[in-house]
Structures are given as C-alpha cells and as structure tokens.
C-alpha cells in the first residue's frame, strides 16, 4: 500500500544460517538434528538479499528512506547470517533466538516467521531463497504465504516492482515459463537463476558495524515453547542412517582407446 502512496518501500529478507556444504554434514542426537558447527549464510539466501537490495536500489535505495530488513531465526551463531546481509547492504537486522526453537520443522518455522512478520509489521515485500541448503524442502515460503494470507510469487528468476505497486516475476518449470503478477504486500522466493549476489565491499563491511539488529524471543512474539521446536513440529525423523560411502572403482588413463574401454565396461555391466 505504501508503495503507491510514495511512502518508503519496506522489504524483509529471510536469511538462514546453515551448515557449510563444503564440509561433511551430520545428523546428531536422538532427534537427528543437524550439526551446525561449520555454518554460513545459505548461498541460496544470498540471492534473496540481492533481489531485495535491487528492489530498493531501483527506487533510490536507503538514501530515499527505503529499507531492507534481514531476519534470521536460529541460535546465537546465526547472527552471522544477519551480519553478512548487513555487509551486503541490508539496512537493519532482526534475530529470533530462543533455545526452544531447536529442531523446528517447516510448520513450526513458518509459525515463528509469520508471527515475527506480524509483530514487526508493515512490510511491502517479503523475500526468501528458493530452499534452505540444509532442509531442502522449499516448504517454508509457501507456508508463510498461507499463514500471512499473502499472494506468493515463488521460485522466480526475475522480479520487478512497478510504480503502481504491482510485482511482476518469471517462474520457469521444465515445460513452461510463466509470468506472475501480484500487488504488494506479497511473498517472493527467488531461485539461483537470478542476478548473482554481490560480495560485501570494504565500505559495506565497515558500515555494517553501525547497523542495528533487534533481538526477539518467543515471548516477544506471543508464542509458547510448546508451539515450536521439536515439540511444536508436525513431522518427526524416526531414524537416520548415513549412506554407505561409494567406493572408487577402476580409473584408467586414456591412451587412445578409452572410448572402446568404456563400451567394454558397459557391456560387461549389461548396460548396453
């Protein structure tokens, strides 16, 4: 609404602190939760931060009063995800941290995030990544749209906001390319097919130190511990087994005949 009245644009970007996929990742404990010791801002959320920054920059950026708020939910260390977003150019941060949140599934996570959106209030556009790189379900954005009664423009590779406050986006599948439109407020998730995310520059890194991050607890959001975390989740992992490591097989060096050797291997395995 504020978009058409000329008021500053308020964008919220949801960022997750996830285990770095470059290292071995493990499920631990009786609840089979992921070990979060080597974590980073989800690479897929960097695309969301980039899309958020581009929306406000197209209208004059922070100088014109437009804001990009980066919000994360997670333990103490998760503040690193907000920090990186601030270094990239977000204007302020929000960190929801409560011990009861550990082990939240998509339903519990979307409940907390929706409560935070209502608590903070007034956002024109909420942007997320296409999936988390640890959970990989893509459920949270759609569940947020459902809980907040917002139109969803999800899994999009391009995003524009018109002067009339209407968002236009492109969503590709294997068989179709769709153009989507919805008036703000709306919920957006962006794929990794959009604009590459910027690296924080020196000015961004220094500037981030002066930016504010608000801490929120469950009680701030009016939620009970029983509604979140493993207790409030609607799904449960019963057991988890690591996939047996693949054994490396034969490796040959091509001496001019490797194409034929390959066909011999396939014939041997009855794959021809």
């Amino acid at each position: 609404m504020s978009v058409t009245s000329g008021a500053p644009l308020k964008v919220l970007v949801l960022v997750k602190h996830v285990p770095d996929a470059q290292f071995d990742r493990h499920l631990t404990g009786s609840d089979h939760v992921i070990d979060r010791s080597e974590s980073i801002l989800s690479e897929l959320d960097e695309y969301a931060v980039e899309a958020a920054l581009q929306l406000v920059e197209a209208r004059g950026g922070a100088k014109a009063g437009h804001t990009v708020t980066a919000l994360t939910m997670g333990p103490e260390r998760a503040s690193a995800a907000v920090k990186k977003s601030l270094q990239m150019g977000a204007t302020d941060g929000v960190h929801i941290n409560d011990p009861a949140l550990a082990g939240s599934d998509a339903a519990a996570t979307s409940l907390v995030l929706a409560s935070a959106v209502n608590h903070l209030g007034g956002f024109d556009v909420i942007i997320t990544g296409m999936a988390s790189t640890d959970g990989e379900t893509s459920l949270v954005p759609a569940q947020l749209a459902e809980r907040l009664s917002l139109p969803q423009l999800t899994m999009v590779s391009s995003l524009e906001l018109g002067e009339d406050g209407v968002l236009t986006a492109r969503r590709d599948s294997d068989t179709t390319s769709k153009t989507l439109q919805a008036a703000t407020p709306a919920l957006v998730s962006v794929t990794d097919q959009g604009e590459e995310a910027r690296y924080p520059n020196f000015k961004g890194i220094m500037g981030a130190k002066k930016k504010k991050t608000v801490a929120l607890s469950l009680s701030d959001l009016g939620l009970e511990a029983s509604q979140v975390g493993a207790a409030g989740s609607w799904t449960r992992i019963e057991d988890a087994s690591p996939r047996p490591p693949r054994e490396a097989g034969t490796v040959v060096t091509d001496s001019g005949n490797a194409g034929v050797e390959l066909v011999d291997f396939l014939a041997d395995k009855k794959l021809l």
Binding site: A21, R25, L27, I34, L44, S110, A131, T133, E136, S138, L139, V140, P141, A142, Q143, A145, E146, R147, L150, P151, Q152, L153, T154, M155, L167, A169, S173, D174, T175, T176, S177, L180, Q181, T191, D192, S233, W234, T235, R236, I237, E238, D239, A240, S241, R243, R246, A248, G249, T250, V251, V252, T253, D254, G259, V260, L262, V263, L266, L271, L272
Partner: protein
Amino acid sequence: MANILVFIDTPTAQPGKAQRELLTLGHRLGEPVVALGSPAADETVAAYANLGATALYAPAGALAGTLIAGEAAFVAEAARACSAGAVLLPNSADGKEIAARVGIKLSAGVITDAVDVTADLTVTKSVLAGGYTVNARAVQGTPVITVKPNSVEPTDAAATSPEVTTLEVADAGPAARVTETVEKAVSARPELQDARIVVSGGRGLDGDFTPVEQLADALGAAVGASRAATDAGWIEHSYQVGQTGKTISPQLYICAGISGAIQHKAGMQTSQVIVAINSDEDAPIFEIADFGIVGDARSVLPQAAAEIQRRKG
C-alpha cells in the same frame, strides 16, 4: 480402508508413468481417491477409473489462473470431503508448494521427496544431498506427502466406476495471477527424471555439447549438465543435475568434464553405476565413480559413441 487422496496436477486421457506410480502407491496404502487438477472431462474420468480410482473430485472451474493458492484450497477441500487418511502429490516445485499450504490448512505434517511410504505412513527419503537416508512421519494431522518419480513400480488395477464430485473452491485467499504461460519446446530424448541412462556434460565440454548428445543418442539416454554448463548458456537450465537442478538415480550416469562439486553430487550420487571422464586425475568425481577415464571428453565420448554404433552393426 482409509481413503488416500492422490492429486493429479494435469489430468490427461493417457496418464504417464509418474501419475500411475502415485495411483499404485495410493492402492498400496488404502483406497485411492483422485483429486483432478482441472474440471472433469469424460476422457480423464475414464482414464483414472481405469487406474482404479474409487472416487474422483474435480474443481468447478480452472485452477491454473493463479499460482498455488487455488490448487491448495481445492486439495484441502477434497481431503476434508473424503476424510483422507493421507494426501499424495507429485514432488514437483508446484506439488511441494501445494503440499506446503495444504499442510497449514489441515494442520498436518508435510513430508517432501518421498522415495517410499509404508502401510503405517512412514516415509523414506534422503537428506543432506543424499548423505543420509531417514524415515520420517507426520505426527499431527493427515500426512501430506510428495512422492518422487520412479519410487514405485506402477501396476495395473481393476477398473472402477467412480462417483465424480465437483467442488466449488471457496476462498483461496490472495494469489498471484499467471498473466502469461509460454510452453517450452519438448526434446525428443528421454526425460532426465525418468531415464534409465543419463549422459551429462560440464565446463570441460568448453561450449560444445555435441559429443554428449552423440553418446546419449547411441545409448538412448537423456542429456544432463552441471550448473557451470547451464550458467554458461550452453544448455538450458532444465537439464541441470544437482542441488538446484534435478535429483536423479538412473541405472547409469556418465559425466564428462564435470569436477564433482558437492552440489552436483547431490543430484546424482545415488545412481547405480557412475562413469566419469575428466582430464584431471585428481578430480573429486573419480572418488565416487565405478569406472573413471582420465582423458579428454572431446575424444573419448565420440569414440565410445562410434564403438556402440559399430557393435550394433
């Protein structure tokens, strides 16, 4: 027996393998009730009756004009109408997002990427880029499950004469409008998701996918690619294998000029047999390959394709 609601996103007169798999799974778990993603037509009703659907629900009007919200409202309503014991949907981007919203509407647990579902509705799936296999359950509400293709062997069922109920979808809530839909060209090669054999190329192909396509055609295989290749525009994004592309488990996966980054492995390391061709003997892909060739993909692939043609005579 419980009603198992099966969502058929694009009803057709000739249901494909993925749809038949969902119906087969529905049969295994209870009485399969079909929710059609578009208004009922005689030939689609007949098609799903032939697959053994015990009842059908169809929307009064088209759902495709808005994104996700309309389909989710319809599926939730159908689940309530038939007191479903579980809801099964395809594991596509749309399927997962519809499931997500149905879960909230029904206050029910949602599980994606299922490769198996047992009689007590325990779901098997792999997580952390194929690093773990887990069994998961919905502990609240009607389990809402999205099922990956090639997870069940489709079987025939006795034909039925199901009742068709038309549902007026009440208020789907605010939704984005689909203002334009452009159909993409369909490839004559097998679908990446369904293929028994896949031949993939990466940055090492240096812009020319012809050698990959030649070997794929000699083997009757689908073509795949790494993100480096799709990002460079050598081949369309829908061919990407990996974390943000397709996750596949073919009988044979041949990759050429692909280094084996964790995000690529996420999409292919559950293949039965892996063959890698890479000019760098230290490429990480060799660690998971059953057969590795240190060599130039641009000569090894055409030689293999020619040899297959020669043996075919």
